[in-house]
Homo-oligomer: 416 residues x 2
């Protein structure tokens, strides 16, 4: 099956917003072997959008359109579809009732304007929106299926899942494009690429060929594998084998073969070893705590985090003495070590992490330029401290600091 | 002038890559009053791309196309243009010479394949590429200007600048499209929209008409204003006046008229009043600290942050007694208040914030469902505590908690 994706919203034609929904949609469509041929971004303009629908009908098998299903006059997707199909719209009172109930559950009265969201072009069926007021729509015309979904990802995603399972999968047959993302941190892209190179051609020549792409993003490298296979089983088996070959070759620098972020990986390791953790941060400013606690259930192992910008806080909460700071500087391995020790001992946690550095843009010196970060990690079995020199702006230094700290911990926990 | 932007490259139709060139192109086109009406992303497919050119010619004034100008067979942009214009291509030996010299300066021999990059459709003129081998092309047909630029941003950007200065600016006259983003938090989109509605038509009817778009994103609302004006001065003046009218109408719920995030806004308020701040977080897990410290120079006013997941940490660091927690529950206004008091007093900071809630997905009860968050803020002048009921997943509850806490502080600081 071949598809177009259309993102609707004038804000997507400004310099400030990029359409990211299409990435998630592509990923899900690919898994059922559906190939995306064109993507469009169109403003809140009923003529332009109707024109796209008109061009697609009878030509492409599937059009997935996101956005423009809200209650305001700007929200023109329903109108554009009605125009392209040349059918009238009517208000579906059952939808009005559901929207009204949604408001009532929040103790609010439904504004009249929301009746617009219950308008449906004749012949279209409704796709339930469990997380919002805007229902989706589904319609077929001249061999083209058209799905309208709301723009907010948290509403769109479950609706897309339902659409795939209930309507698209049966149309697609079993074949699919299957993908796997391996995540690596702590190495240079060129280094990983050079080491993995010999496997790439081997993968391509296999009975189920696997294409590889390497992608370096902030503080981590991703190896993307994709296999076109006649069934999910065969595709996944081929990807499993390829992932295993890469693991054998590259070793533990691969931290995830299933898309899990680093914070989830260390969470599982901590849970498996029944260890608790507390962290002390300076330059990363709470980002490490925040990432660790992004994981559902992290309260099982995360005890506390200290964000100590001031030396006073480092002394009071972590027992890092003013003398130590005076002797080595706040950004130093001895201070990072003392922070890790202090937070672990004072919280009674098994694992302690200390991060101190210069996030910039100010505060750098010739000896300790912006991006200098000392990180100490202690577990019941081991202690480590390292100094990193990160590049990039304040946000990148913060991210890489949290990333490097979690990776040090991961490797130490794997070791024993 | 109205424009289409076309991004070419099969990698842009995978789940891993998003077209970001179009943002930079939009920004530059907007400054000369050129409005982007549609964006396309197309694979390395000569039929699809030629089809887009054919649809645009005679209909849209400008098409800016990036990518597909490399030397390989995948690079089909030149072929697609030649097909759409129905003219043959020839090899421009002057371009071949320039490419050959470029290789020679690097001590290399030009591969034969690079001759492809010197193919130009009859009638097109060359746009120099100072940073790469792929020259750009420029052609006019039936009132439509078409610019082909390479995909890599570092090559594309200077070529776009030259194109704007030498070819597009003279076509555009002095006019421009100028934009302003107003940010609002703590209100429902429909509420803001209903209140601002009367101004929208007034803005559109003004001598310099201003279009408005309302956009609700996680925990905040944005009002986008855009004015087409004969000069930057007039455009900015019209936007200033419109922003002021919206401020007069909506009051302090508007927290930013210049794109600054909430953490920067409260940073400026704290700095202006010479106040220091410390924060105590439970369910937001360090996100509030992390956002506050995203602002360069925040070490001037941010003293420390406590991420207290455990009741023990709340007691030890913040002096929140086990009795209080037992009496009201960890998620309660009295506990949030005690957290704010504890962190402010113990850190010696002027401002203290306490956040305690249920981020989910687990931990909810019928009385305190997931998303229940109590937030207390104390400044030297005032104390406030509120309980919120946020919707969405764990990340949204975290974000909205941090957002609501900063907004409470902002409104209290504005009050005195």
């Amino acid at each position: 099956m071949k598809a177009w994706i259309v993102a609707v919203g004038s804000e997507l034609l400004t310099p400030f917003r990029v359409d990211t929904n299409s990435l998630a949609i592509t990923e899900r469509l690919n898994t059922i072997g559906c190939d995306v041929r064109l993507k469009f971004v169109v403003g809140d303009d009923v003529d332009e959008l109707a024109g796209i629908f008109e061009r697609g009908i009878g030509k492409i098998e599937l059009i997935v359109c996101t956005g423009g299903l809200g209650p305001t006059e700007d929200d023109i997707t329903r109108d554009a579809l009605s125009r392209a199909l040349q059918v009238p719209m009517h208000v579906d009172e059952a939808i009005v009732d559901r929207i009204r109930q949604r408001f009532e559950r929040r103790g609010m009265t439904m504004p009249d304007i929301n009746r617009r969201q219950a308008m449906i072009p004749r012949g279209a069926t409704v796709v339930e929106n469990p997380r919002g007021t805007a229902p989706g729509l589904w319609v077929e015309r001249n061999g083209t299926y058209i799905a309208l979904l709301p723009g907010p990802p948290r509403e769109m995603t479950p609706m897309l899942e339902a659409l795939i399972a209930e309507r698209l999968q049966p149309l697609a047959g079993g074949a699919g494009l299957f993908r796997r993302v391996l995540k690596i941190t702590g190495r240079a892209e060129s280094d990983v690429d050079a080491r993995a190179q010999p496997l790439y051609n081997q993968f391509l020549a296999a009975p189920i060929p696997i294409a590889t792409t390497i992608l370096a993003v902030m503080g981590q490298i991703e190896l993307h594998l994709s296999a076109t296979a006649p069934s999910r089983e065969l595709g996944e088996a081929a990807l499993d084998a390829a992932a295993q070959q890469l693991r054998d070759l590259l070793g533990p620098i691969i931290y995830s073969v299933d898309g899990r972020p680093l914070e989830a990986v260390i969470g599982d390791l901590l849970r498996a070893k029944a260890l608790t953790i507390s962290v002390a941060e300076s330059c990363s400013g709470g980002l490490l705590s925040s990432r660790i606690t992004d994981v559902p259930g992290s309260s099982d192992y995360f005890e506390r985090g200290a964000v100590c910008y001031s030396n006073h806080a480092k002394e009071e909460w972590l027992g890092v003495s003013a003398e130590l700071i005076a002797a080595y500087g706040a950004v130093s391995e001895p201070v990072a070590t003392a922070m890790a020790k202090g937070i672990a001992e004072r919280s009674g946690s098994d694992v302690g992490i200390g991060i101190t550095g210069i996030a910039g843009p100010g505060g750098g010196t010739p000896e300790k330029p912006v991006g200098t970060v000392a990180i100490a990690v202690r577990t019941p079995a081991a202690k480590q401290v390292r100094t990193f020199q990160f590049i990039g702006g304040r946000d990148m230094v913060k991210f890489q600091s949290a990333q490097a700290a979690m990776n040090m911990l991961r490797l130490m926990l794997l070791d024993g």
